[in-house]
């Protein structure tokens, strides 16, 4: 039984109804039990280290609510992920009690970390984690291991010495979660999963706030079909930072379009590209895990590698088209976007770009764009 269930609801029922607990209710409940909770901004951070210190990582990507006070501190050309995060932090939420962690995902987030720490003045501790940019080589490995050790010492200063066994156990737990996620991802690509678009991404995103043990229990119960489901739906791959807005996911379902694969920073770009051996030395495991993640605009690197990865995913999932769902003013993504669109257009892959400010609703024009794109995909399905 899950820890979050007040009543004896089985996990099957939860998945069936996608009754995954509400993010803020769940975190509130956890905070009341005295659980240490750190607010973590996107996207890549050594979650295993936090778990080893009994700190729960509650990720902050797109908290709901209007952006009011954050605008006073940020330029207008800053992405809504950063604005919404700051708005959330400024409210000093009770659920976050162990500080905030700002990984170096992009310059905007890095600056936000500095601003929150030095200018805005938040009472909780602020941590930063400077991911290496670039490929797997001796320099980046050494740098990554250095910052892991440094981050460990910083955490030890506030939370006491690290117990090596706990870190080992955290790596094992992380490895198990990754393994399940890879199976589920594969099942999605090959039609062995009977979840709507909205249900699928609700399941994938629940890892942003559920305790790892709870999330693992959820994943263990996901029903993988023995035979692939047969359907004549159009198949779509989506690339960007976050999954499309719930309204778009539902709309795509209504139009008969399934998102069968993704290249999203919040989802697939955080799942290893291929199966890893079970953890031996935690330091080596954490390093390897970081470098076997799919190519990502936020980690720098080679655009050809990204094109290659996306092409393979499109092929494997038999997607008929590619949707770029761009967060407005997201610099790292915009750098790659133009060339990616050009490349896939030249390869005759139907491509659609949408731009989101993480609004609550989609515009009529975006609906028309999506519908027209779907008409194109169905032309392909029918030929």
């Amino acid at each position: 039984m899950l820890r979050f269930s007040k009543h004896e609801i089985t996990i099957n029922e939860i998945i069936k109804n996608m009754n995954i607990p509400d993010r803020s209710e769940y975190l509130k409940g956890l905070a009341q039990t005295g659980q240490k909770i750190m607010g973590v901004l996107p996207a890549l951070y050594p979650r295993e280290l936090l778990w080893a210190f009994d700190i729960h990582a509650a990720e902050i990507w797109d908290p709901p609510g209007e952006i009011l006070h954050a605008n006073a501190h940020l330029q207008t050309t800053i992405c809504p992920v950063v604005k919404k995060s700051l708005e959330f932090i400024l409210k000093e939420p009770q659920t976050i009690n162990a500080g905030y962690l700002f990984p170096h995902t992009c310059d905007s987030l890095q600056n936000l970390g500095t601003q929150v720490k030095d200018l805005i003045g938040v009472s909780l501790p602020i941590y930063t984690f400077y991911n290496p940019k670039g490929r797997f080589n001796n320099t980046t490995i050494k740098y990554y291991q250095d910052i892991l050790i440094n981050f460990q010492s910083i955490l030890e200063a506030s939370h006491g010495p690290l117990e090596p066994e706990k870190l080992k156990a955290a790596c094992v737990l992380s490895h198990k979660i990754d393994t399940y996620l890879m199976v589920i991802q594969q099942a999605r690509m090959t039609d062995h999963l009977s979840l709507s678009n909205h249900e699928y991404f609700t399941l994938m995103r629940a890892q942003e706030y559920l305790l790892p043990q709870d999330y693992l229990s959820l994943l263990e119960q996901v029903n993988i079909l023995e035979k692939p489901a047969e359907f004549s739906r159009a198949r779509l791959m989506v690339s960007g930072i976050l999954p499309p807005l719930p309204e778009i996911l539902v709309f795509l379902d209504e139009l008969g379009v399934s998102i069968v694969a993704d290249d999203l920073l919040a989802v697939s770009r955080r799942i290893p590209k291929f199966a890893m051996d079970p953890p031996g030395s935690p330091l080596d495991y954490l390093t390897d895990r970081f470098f076997v993640l799919p190519p990502c605009s936020t980690r720098g690197g080679d655009l050809d590698e990204r094109v290659h990865y996306l092409s393979n995913r499109l092929k494997e999932s038999k997607a008929h088209g590619l949707l770029f769902d761009m967060v407005k003013f997201c610099e790292p993504e915009l750098f790659d976007h133009r060339l990616l669109v050009k490349t896939f257009r030249e390869r005759k892959t139907p491509v659609l770009t949408l731009e989101t400010e993480l609004e609550d609703h989609i515009s009529g024009q975006d609906k028309t764009r999506i519908e027209a794109f779907t008409e194109r995909l169905f032309e392909i399905v029918s030929t």
């Binding site: 257009r345 009529g364 024009q365 028309t368 764009r369 027209a372 194109r376």
Partner: protein
């Protein structure tokens, strides 16, 4: 397939357009009326008028495709398709060598690439504002105290044009106000406005590229000055339909016809 008729009903933000064709694709009637505040009423009215003009009854229409931003409000339609696909199909039937369609509608503008069968391959649409649309011209005509016909008069494309740097309707309107305050001749302001729309369309065209012949659709295709400037900018001659406003509706009618033919083929398998 004798005596089978098909229709397309395009409920746009400014006008509602209906086209009725026979089974061979011959156009029997075309109607354009203002949409007003109620899209479904406008669709009813325009459809009835088109039936009357073609001397047909409602029962004689086998398939009706609703399109345009108000497509969901056409209760009597047998199917709905976006205006993007409809404009592609309509342009293809009028000018079979069309590879690119530029549609300047009342509320939005689109550049659509189509294949040899008129199927849409790719498209781009202007973003969430009235820049480069019919609405932009309407607002500016009001401000200049001209009607749309006056705004559409052929202008010497070599002539002077007032500098209007903004494509945003709100900012462009304030630029127009200051130009009027400086006694800039209205002809030059009109010229500047047309250039501003052409620049906006140009940036959409460059993002998607040009293939084959280019057909211009939408009411703005009546604006001769703008057409001349666009042709100059693109370096080619545009196909201009006789009724540029009804191309989406015509495409809708052809889609209804094709859907009916496909269903016959499916039944005979």
């Amino acid at each position: 397939m004798a005596d089978l008729y098909f229709s397309g009903v395009d409920v746009g933000s400014l006008s509602t357009d209906v086209s009725i064709i026979d089974h061979g694709g011959k156009v029997l009637s075309e109607i354009v009326i203002p949409t007003g505040v109620n899209g479904s009423e406008a669709a009813e009215q325009a459809f009835n008028a088109a039936l009357k003009l073609a001397d047909l009854t409602r029962d004689s229409i086998t398939g009706i495709t609703a399109t345009g931003y108000g497509r969901a409000s056409v209760a009597f339609a047998t199917g709905k398709t976006t205006e993007i696909s409809c404009h592609g199909v309509g342009a293809h039937h009028l000018f079979p060598k069309t590879g690119t369609v530029i549609d300047i509608g009342g509320q939005d503008s689109k550049v659509i690439q189509i294949d040899r069968q008129g199927r849409m391959l790719d498209f781009t649409m202007n973003d969430k504002c009235a820049a480069g649309t019919g609405r932009f011209l309407e607002v500016m005509a009001n401000r200049l105290d001209l009607n749309l016909d006056e705004l559409s008069s052929p202008l010497n494309i070599e002539g002077d044009s007032a500098p209007i740097s903004s494509t945003c309707t709100v900012f462009a309107e304030s630029e127009v106000i200051s130009l009027l305050a400086k006694n800039t001749p209205r002809k030059e302001i009109v010229h500047g406005l047309q250039r501003s729309i052409v620049n906006r369309i140009w940036s959409m065209v460059t993002s998607i590229g040009i293939e084959g012949e280019v057909t211009l659709t939408g009411g703005v295709a009546h604006n001769k000055g703008l057409v001349a400037l666009l042709e100059e900018k693109l370096g080619l001659t545009l196909n201009i339909p006789e009724n540029p406003q009804t191309v989406g509706a015509l495409g809708g009618a052809h889609i209804a016809r094709r859907t009916y033919q496909n269903s016959l083929e499916a039944d005979s398998i």
